[in-house]
């Protein structure tokens, strides 16, 4: 067993478009992801509203470990596709994995 380099993509955006984003990255070839609901602050204000008003008012954080190629594609297209009208950021960083095949699209 050996350590291989892969990329971890992080997308933080409005819960309102959670399923849209997941559907979108799935069509790009993503097979695995980890997702969480949290709060934040950015250009579009504080996103930390009471759940009574709706879960869509908070953020989701989606993490995808994958190849560099697919990672770049995700970052670029998600920003283009979603972040004109919706709050959100997307970035990526290097990680080291063992079972490289698991993270191929």
């Amino acid at each position: 067993m050996d350590l291989k380099t892969a990329k971890c993509v992080v997308i933080i955006t409005e819960s309102a478009i959670k399923s849209d984003v997941l559907d979108f990255i799935t069509t790009l070839g993503v097979k695995g992801y980890t997702i969480d609901t949290l709060c934040g602050r950015g250009e579009r204000g504080i996103r930390d509203d009471d759940a009574l008003l709706g879960d869509y008012l908070r953020n989701v954080k989606i993490e995808v470990v994958t190849t560099t190629e697919l990672a770049e594609k995700i970052v670029f297209t998600v920003i283009e596709q979603f972040f004109k009208n919706y709050a959100g950021i997307a970035y990526m960083h290097d990680v080291q994995v063992v079972r490289e095949d698991k993270f191929r699209p």
């Binding site: 409005e14 309102a16 478009i17 204000g45 009471d50 759940a51 009574l52 008003l53 709706g54 869509y56 009208n85 919706y86």
Partner: protein, 325 residues
């Protein structure tokens, strides 16, 4: 004049409204008092279930007639017309751009369930009965408002409005489904159902409402701070639009022959603005609209206005009109 002051005082000095004030106060003092969101959501489901079920049971006990049909049409009509009025007022008085004026006015064509529930509690205090199908009318006052709002925003051009996810959100949203479903279950099971359910839907009702209004006070207090950003013209709209809506509701109620209590409730439905269903639907269907304008208005201005002033006012006005008729 003393009559309306008395009605108002009696309204404000009831436990639910006092708990709302407590919530407002706590929020303004930046207290850490906070109902856990999961519990808040469950309480709002409780209110929907109860109000729907009770309405259904009452409908079961009464006969279906033409007045019912007329009332339902009146509800659809109000929900479609109020956004048009609101849109024009917003464009003219507050000089809001097309998309945001359309979005905001859609909120005012729709309804606030909690305001409705508070109004039924108020009618209970005054021993004023109302028609069970008011709940069905409430259920109809969502879709027209949203659709008119979208048409106003997108005009002739534009993508098709009825995407599958839009239909799902507007017609099968949790709030609406629970309300209509409970209404249907009340209708089907009638008096027998109520017997089995009374310990849940009647016994703790006022107390749960107090708890919930405490939470609403906390929320309203937070949103109050965001009003300043929205500007004075918008804040004023949040005060006079419910009065216009209330007047429309009273006239419609009297026209279709609702009882005094029912007319008051229709006025409340017309006067109240949605802060849960409509903003959620528009976030998808009209992402260009700025939610930071509409939410503080509907929740921070119009909701407390109706709770403190609107409900007794519409009740009083209805009383006067019915005396006159």
């Amino acid at each position: 004049m003393t009559a309306i002051l008395e009605i108002s005082a009696q309204n404000i000095l009831s436990p639910p409204i006092l708990f709302f004030i407590l919530g407002l106060f706590a929020s303004r003092m930046r207290s850490d008092l906070e109902i856990p969101p999961a519990v808040g959501k469950a309480l709002s489901y409780y209110l929907l279930l109860v109000i729907g079920f009770k309405g259904g049971v009452e409908l079961n006990a009464s006969e279906l007639n033409l007045r019912l049909l007329n009332s339902l049409v009146a509800a659809l009509f109000a929900s479609a017309v109020l956004p048009l009025i609101g849109y024009v007022l917003l464009r003219v008085t507050a000089r809001i751009d097309r998309v945001n004026a359309a979005a905001i006015s859609a909120h005012y064509g729709s309804v606030s369930v909690v305001t409705f529930v508070a109004a039924t509690a108020f009618l209970g205090l005054n021993d004023a009965p109302y028609e069970g199908y008011l709940v069905a009318m409430m259920a109809l006052m969502e879709a027209p408002a949203i659709i008119i709002g979208l048409v106003l925003a997108k005009g002739g051009q534009g993508r098709r409005i009825f995407s599958p996810s839009f239909v799902r959100e507007v017609f099968f949203g949790g709030t609406l489904l629970l309300l209509i479903g409970s209404f249907g279950i009340g209708w089907i099971t009638g008096g027998r159902g109520m017997e089995a359910m009374a310990g849940f839907v009647k016994v703790p009702f006022t107390g749960v409402l107090c708890f919930f209004l405490l939470e609403m006070g906390l929320l309203t207090g937070k949103k109050l701070s965001d009003i300043k950003k929205a500007g004075i013209h918008l804040a004023l709209f949040g005060l006079y639009m419910p009065i216009i809506g209330g007047a429309v509701g009273i006239l419609l109620g009297a026209f279709v022959g609702l009882s005094q209590g029912g007319t008051t409730l229709l006025a409340v439905l017309c006067a109240s603005a949605s802060y849960i269903v409509v903003p959620a639907a528009l976030r998808h269907a009209l992402p260009e609209a700025n939610p930071a304008l509409s939410m503080p208005l509907a929740l921070g201005v119009t909701f407390p206005f109706n709770i403190f002033i609107g409900i007794p006012l519409y009740y009083y006005a209805t009383q006067k009109l019915f005396e006159f008729l």
